[in-house]
């Protein structure tokens, strides 16, 4: 009897938990009460989100998780990394299993509207490209007529590929693969002539090859892939926390705030915007977000500003070797442009 009552209560609690979520309790309060941030990341893409040799998650996306945790708790280690596949990522978010999604996810119209997600910004401007073997003698994607192409299913790349080949009146055969690792294996075995995914992903994949020099990434970028973090639709207060934490990292680079000089600048800087950002002015921006005054300072201290994170995880000195390109500050000809902290 006791047992069945217990089970009944458990079942009822689970169902009501789902309801409570739907009724819109603030995610920030939930996260604070839990004491940990559930961050939905890639299952493993070197440079963006992958566990290192010691099992610690590292990467460009992971750094944002750390920054958000630091902004909320003042401690960058209070993150639970939940690996999500391209197929289950949206369900993980809408079901509340993760607090926000940062998984090389392209911001598209239908995902923002129909799938009921809110993208809060772009942390990496990407585009879809092709990788081929050098000895294939192909120098442009337009020469890929009749080729067999490996592609990860369940991504926007599938539709881009179909559109691009249709627009250029070319034909192809798709070899659908489930994971990046499988695509890599098929491509290396010659089961496909070309491998297509986001150019950053291609660079990351190529970096892991035994002979990266024998493979080239074709110059054509066939799509716009703004990758960014997403929260549940209507969860705007929580979305603000993610958006402005990310903007703080970008603004920090613009103002020259680095993890090395941040403590010094917090006390000595005469720039009012820097003072507001780092919580040393009387305007308490943190309180407006529901966070401490030192939120942005903690976030930047977690792994440095945007530029530092980029250089350490996917930049030109890493095996991934990505140039800043579109992801440079607007003052450097890139697209990074954060609204003012005021």
């Amino acid at each position: 009897m006791k047992k069945s009552v217990f089970l009944g209560t458990l079942a009822a609690t689970t169902l009501f938990a789902g309801m409570a979520l739907a009724q819109g309790t603030s995610t920030l309060d939930t996260v604070k009460a839990r004491g940990e941030l559930n961050c939905g990341v890639n299952t493993g893409l070197v440079g963006f989100a992958a566990p290192d040799a010691n099992g610690n998650w590292q990467g460009f996306d992971v750094a944002l998780c750390k920054a958000v945790a630091a902004a909320i708790f003042g401690d960058a280690s209070k993150v639970v990394y939940i690996p999500t596949t391209s197929a289950d990522r949206f369900e993980q978010l809408t079901s509340g299993k993760i607090d926000f999604l940062i998984r090389n996810t392209t911001w598209t119209f239908s995902r923002d509207t129909d799938l009921k997600m809110d993208f809060v910004g772009v942390n990496y401007y990407d585009g879809q490209g092709f990788m081929v073997r050098k000895d294939l003698g192909v120098s442009s994607a337009k020469e890929l007529n009749g080729a067999t192409i490996c592609i990860q299913t369940g991504t926007t790349t599938e539709l881009n590929l179909a559109d691009y080949f249709k627009a250029n009146n070319l034909t192809y055969t798709a070899v659908p693969v489930e994971t990046n690792a499988e695509g890599e294996q098929q491509y290396l075995a010659g089961a496909c002539d070309a491998y297509t995914t986001d150019a950053s992903g291609l660079a990351a994949t190529r970096a892991a090859f035994a002979d990266p020099d024998n493979h080239i990434i074709l110059p054509e970028i066939i799509s716009k892939e703004p990758l960014g973090p997403a929260v549940r639709h209507g969860d705007s207060a929580w979305g603000d926390v993610i958006r402005w934490t990310m903007n703080a990292l970008i603004a920090a680079e613009e103002f020259g705030i680095t993890s090395a000089n941040i403590d010094e600048l917090a006390t000595s800087s005469q720039n009012p915007e820097v003072q507001r950002l780092l919580g040393s002015s009387t305007d308490n921006l943190g309180a407006m977000l529901g966070l401490d005054a030192g939120w942005a300072k903690n976030a930047i201290k977690a792994s440095g500003n945007y530029g530092e994170i980029f250089a350490a995880t996917i930049g030109e000195s890493t095996p991934i070797g990505l140039a800043r390109g579109l992801n440079a500050q607007w003052t450097q000809g890139g697209l990074l442009y954060t609204p003012p902290f005021r």
């Binding site: 169902l15 789902g18 309801m19 739907a22 009724q23 391209s86 197929a87 949206f90 369900e91 809408t94 239908s110 995902r111 129909d114 799938l115 009921k116 294939l136 890929l144 007529n145 009749g146 080729a147 067999t148 299913t153 369940g154 991504t155 599938e158 539709l159 590929l161 179909a162 559109d163 249709k166 192809y172 055969t173 798709a174 070899v175 659908p176 693969v177 489930e178 294996q185 098929q186 075995a189 010659g190 089961a191 496909c192 002539d193 549940r232 639709h233 209507g234």
Partner: protein
């Protein structure tokens, strides 16, 4: 004063529903049924409410939107401009194709392996035991992946067929190319193709229809000829010569069709990145088919062995006493009786094979799970709707197979009079 006793059978009181043993069991069943339905309704209502609260009500409208993706194996007309419903149909046909091929091959292989396992020849018997034990004790997914990986890694890429001294060459007089992507084989093409006939949403390939009609028609005519011969034999004792009539009936129509349609073979040749011409049978199809066949046949072999063992030894001895050789004994006496034991578990193996074919996604074979439950689901984000549809379709396929096999079972089962 006389006491009038009421007739107990006359009235019906509400209390009798509980206290009368005639009604009690029905009452309990109805109450349980209502409670169960209320519980189910509560769960479904809860789900729908929660989805609506999230702004994601159940809506199947996405099926009529443009799919936008390409599928590498299509049995019917499909382009990326087709609808998601069309993509679902393509996937469904691919599922049915692999299930059909798999069931036939698994039955043939399973019966052979099951009979051979009982062989008096020690080596043959043990070999079959090894086969059965290896295949049924390793997960199917591993077999699929292994066979696919062997194809991918061991066979040459189409590029290897290129040049003056190619690293690989085509087999069977330069007509068949085994590559690590597909097997390119010659294929029939029709000079005077009849094209397609559209019947509502269904497109009918007229060439294929004509061929099937010719084959089935020839077979039916042949059966009528043989029946007539048997009738004459039973009446007169003399069987008329029918072999030339049979030959004409079986092959006449199909030869006629060949001349009318004007068929010739189209041979594959290397053009650009890939082979063109002929038919390309993708490795994912072959790997999946092989793995499903070998795996399910191991189970069918055990079912066949059990069925044969269930027939009493006396039947064999009686057949031997009549002078039948072992092979004839098996095919005429033992197997027909064993069928009664074999059919019911065989049905579940067919159902298993069909459902297991949904592992196709592991090798990129675009079956129903790959199109509707894979790309469509991911592109539209309609997870619940797609999964409900998938479950419904697999249920319908399984029930159809099961129903057809039960009809067959009725016809072979022991008829008690």
């Amino acid at each position: 004063m006389a006491v009038v006793t009421e007739d107990p059978k006359a009235g019906f009181r509400l209390g009798m529903l509980i206290y009368d043993t005639r009604y009690r069991s029905i009452t309990i069943q109805i109450v349980v049924l209502f409670l169960f339905m209320a519980g189910a309704a509560w769960l479904i209502d809860n789900l729908i409410r929660n989805l609506e609260a999230l702004g994601r009500g159940i809506d199947f409208g996405f099926l009529w939107n443009r799919a936008g993706y390409d599928i590498n194996q299509t049995l019917v007309e499909y382009t990326n401009d087709s609808t998601h419903a069309r993509a679902m149909l393509v996937g469904l046909l691919n599922t049915l194709l692999i299930a059909f091929l798999g069931c036939i091959a698994a039955t043939v292989l399973g019966v052979i392996a099951g009979v051979l396992r009982l062989s008096k020849n020690w080596v043959v018997g043990r070999l079959m035991t090894v086969y059965v034990e290896i295949f049924r004790n390793i997960p199917l997914l591993l077999w699929i992946l292994m066979i696919y990986t062997i194809f991918t890694e061991a066979l040459p890429a189409p590029n290897a067929f290129r040049g003056e001294n190619p690293a690989a060459s085509m087999a069977l007089f330069d007509t068949v190319a085994f590559t690590n992507r597909y097997t390119a084989i010659p294929w029939l093409v029709f000079d005077n193709s009849l094209g397609w006939l559209q019947l509502g949403p269904i497109w009918l390939n007229l060439d294929l229809t004509v061929i099937i009609v010719a084959l089935v028609g020839g077979f039916l005519i042949n059966r009528a000829i043989l029946k007539r011969a048997t009738r004459i034999q039973e009446a007169t004792g003399i069987r008329p010569t029918t072999w030339w009539q049979s030959l004409i009936a079986l092959f006449g129509p199909i030869i006629l069709v060949k001349f009318v349609l004007g068929t010739h073979f189209d041979y594959p040749s290397l053009q650009g990145f890939n082979f063109t011409g002929g038919l390309q049978v993708s490795n994912s199809l072959v790997a999946l088919w092989l793995a499903l066949t070998l795996y399910t046949a191991a189970f069918i072999a055990e079912i066949v062995r059990g069925g044969i063992n269930a027939i009493s030894r006396g039947q064999t001895e009686a057949a031997f006493a009549l002078g039948l050789r072992p092979g004839r004994t098996m095919s005429l006496i033992i197997l027909p009786q064993a069928m009664r034991v074999i059919i019911p578990p065989l049905i579940s193996q067919y159902l298993n094979l069909t459902k297991n074919s949904s592992l196709a996604i592991a090798v990129g074979y675009m079956d129903l799970r790959g199109t509707l439950g894979g790309i469509t689901l991911n592109q539209t984000g309609r997870g619940l709707e797609a999964m409900l549809l998938l479950m419904l379709i697999y249920l319908l396929i399984s029930l159809t197979i099961s129903g057809a096999m039960n009809v067959y079972n009725q016809s072979v089962k022991l008829k008690e009079r």
